[in-house]
């Protein structure tokens, strides 16, 4: 593992940049565990202070340090995005591969479900869930709902890859040699599907973070828990742009753009690691 990481850092500039970006944002987010003040406390600091040596990114109109708010916010947003991504990947891989490999009635049933889910509009359903749940709405519930809405396009994509693998010689050979269906799917087909999973995971992560920001900006989430969208929500509530408190909005947006960039570079270079042909040719092996 360490050797692979070293090779990737040395031979793949995209990976190196993405790795450094994501790692520094992650460390920055991790720092909120050592924050001097609790992230939900308000009016403990002088409000509306511009960036200075004491408050690097300034303070908000609610008397919070933007630096430490952001640290918590990125952590919470990433946690939400990763939860959605992992849950929806599990669904997409299971449905896509089973449907593609088993075919027949299984395929028909699963794809009917899949296409029904595609037809459902996301935001209205999430708002509906929010209004039904009201005060018991927590971020894990929101993440689970988003995951249930976010797997279907990718399940179709994964199904198409599995469908072509089903008739390859190595699959027929594996069947003849007595490998079971789970073994064939996990050992023979999953490595092939992996780049698709990684790339769709990247897209899904961006989609999930965007969804979280959208809902939070509109106030449809737990607004006391700092997130990137939540910070923008409060900045709007206090009319930060009109009041000239630009640092309240600018820094969270810069942070989330850097996060997207880092994750994107990681995703494309991880693909290269998984496809042995392009990795080895880059290394000159």
């Amino acid at each position: 593992m360490f050797k692979i990481l070293r090779d990737m850092l040395r031979y793949n500039i995209e990976f190196a940049i993405g790795f450094v970006l994501t790692l520094s944002i992650f460390l920055f987010a991790l720092a909120h565990f050592w924050a001097p003040l609790p992230d939900t406390a308000i009016y403990l600091l002088p409000p509306d202070m511009p960036p200075s040596a004491q408050y690097w990114f300034g303070t908000t109109s609610r008397g919070q340090d933007v630096l430490w708010q952001m640290s918590s916010a990125i952590w919470n947003t990433m946690l939400f995005g990763l939860t959605v991504t992992v849950l929806s990947r599990l669904l997409a891989v299971a449905v896509g591969m089973l449907s593609g490999y088993l075919g027949g009635r299984w395929d028909q049933a699963l794809m009917t479900l899949n296409d029904t889910m595609i037809a459902l509009p996301n935001i209205p359903i999430l708002l509906l869930v929010y209004f039904v749940m009201r005060d018991s709405m927590s971020w894990p519930v929101l993440a689970a709902t988003a995951a249930l809405l976010g797997w279907n396009y990718d399940a179709r994509l994964i199904r198409s890859v599995t469908l072509s693998l089903r008739n390859r010689e190595f699959t027929r050979h594996a069947v003849f040699a007595g490998m079971s269906v789970p073994q064939i799917l996990v050992r023979q087909h999953l490595p092939y599907v992996m780049p698709v999973i990684f790339f769709t995971a990247m897209n899904n992560l961006i989609w999930a973070i965007g969804l979280e920001v959208t809902l939070s900006v509109l106030g449809f989430s737990d607004i006391n828990r700092p997130t990137i969208g939540g910070m923008i929500y409060w900045a709007n509530q206090h009319q930060a742009i009109i009041a000239g408190i630009w640092w309240w909005i600018a820094f969270p947006i810069i942070a989330v753009v850097l996060l997207f960039l880092g994750l994107f570079l990681l995703a494309i270079s991880v693909n290269e690691y998984i496809d042995p042909r392009s990795r080895l040719s880059r290394m000159g092996a």
């Binding site: 010689e169 003849f176 040699a177 490998m179």
Partner: protein
């Protein structure tokens, strides 16, 4: 080696196929179609024998061999008949006992499939293929298994380092050798090969054929293989069977079939082979192989046969013993060979 120690069994046959019929049965929009790819084939293969199946494209060779391997999927179905193996006194009926069949695969019976150069998964190292296909059949510890595989590769003339490679890093000949190594690493009693050398050039083909023959002799295995290339049959087969339109039309020891073909179709196949120093024009057989969804009546070869008489149109000739082999023709032996 062990075979010489064993008391001679009453029957030394390893595979018995009796009255095998396997049809592709399709039902599209209420229209039933039936393609009789394997139609009433009976054959016996002995221990230590290499049996070649020859025939032109779409004559049902591959369907026959797939049915023998028990590797068929719908729409191809076995309609009648049986395929029985005899592994060291243990009888195995392929279509009556799927559980025992599953256990015997790879251990007693291995299969080199058509297009076998693509048997290796392109995104996984070669060693994983050995592990997936052979490990659980051999019952060895991982390190002993690895040592066994490396030794086997060396015998076949491959460097054990290929285990760490990806398939795209190897040449076609190496991949073909690896496929053969995969099929023989468990030392099976019976090997089924479907066009094992078709994608290779003549030199590599020669090499691979020598390899197959060598392995067969060392392990005392029987081999049944299919190819349309008559020179391959001449090179390694002990006996050959000629398939025409889903039926076995002639069978016999290779030399006899080449020297004295009994069936007019076989005679034509053999006379079409080029010979050094002979620059006569080779005549083509008129017509084309019949549509197996609607085969001709009587002998299926009669529309193209130069010797056809009325009887051939109406009655199907049975496969009967004649000289050293068997032939299915009303006018067997009457054909003139060049």
């Amino acid at each position: 080696m062990l075979d010489t120690l064993q008391a001679p069994t009453t029957t030394s046959s390893m595979l018995r196929v009796e009255g095998l019929k396997a049809y592709y049965q399709m039902n599209y929009f209420g229209v039933r179609r039936e393609v009789r790819a394997v139609d009433d084939v009976s054959l016996t293969i002995n221990r230590n024998e290499i049996y070649g199946i020859a025939g032109e494209s779409s004559s049902g060779k591959s369907s026959l061999i797939k049915t023998i391997a028990g590797a068929i999927t719908p729409p191809l179905r076995v309609v009648e008949g049986s395929v029985k193996f005899d592994f060291a006194g243990r009888e195995l009926d392929v279509y009556a006992d799927p559980q025992a069949m599953k256990a015997a695969r790879w251990q007693n019976l291995s299969y080199i499939m058509q297009g076998s150069m693509n048997v290796l998964n392109p995104v996984r190292r070669v060693k994983h293929a050995f592990h997936d296909f052979a490990f659980k059949h051999m019952g060895l510890s991982p390190s002993a298994f690895r040592a066994r595989v490396e030794k086997h590769l060396q015998r076949i003339g491959l460097d054990p380092h290929v285990l760490e490679s990806f398939p795209h890093q190897l040449s076609g000949g190496m991949r073909q050798r690896l496929t053969i190594a995969l099929a023989t690493v468990c030392e099976p009693d019976f090997i089924i090969a479907d066009e094992p050398t078709t994608a290779l050039d003549v030199l590599v083909q020669q090499d691979v054929l020598a390899l197959i023959k060598d392995i067969q002799q060392r392990m005392g295995a029987s081999i049944i293989f299919v190819t349309h290339d008559m020179t391959v049959h001449a090179a390694i087969a002990d006996r050959i069977g000629i398939v025409y339109a889903g039926r076995l039309v002639e069978e016999g020891p290779t030399l006899d079939v080449f020297r004295r073909p009994q069936h007019p179709y076989t005679a034509h196949l053999i006379s079409s082979l080029p010979r050094i120093g002979d620059n006569k024009k080779r005549s083509a057989l008129p017509g084309k192989p019949p549509n197996l969804a609607d085969p001709p009546s009587g002998c299926r070869f009669h529309p193209r046969c130069p010797l056809a008489v009325d009887k051939c149109t109406n009655e199907n000739p049975p496969l009967e013993a004649r000289l050293t082999g068997r032939v299915a023709c009303w006018r067997a032996g009457e054909v003139q060979t060049a």
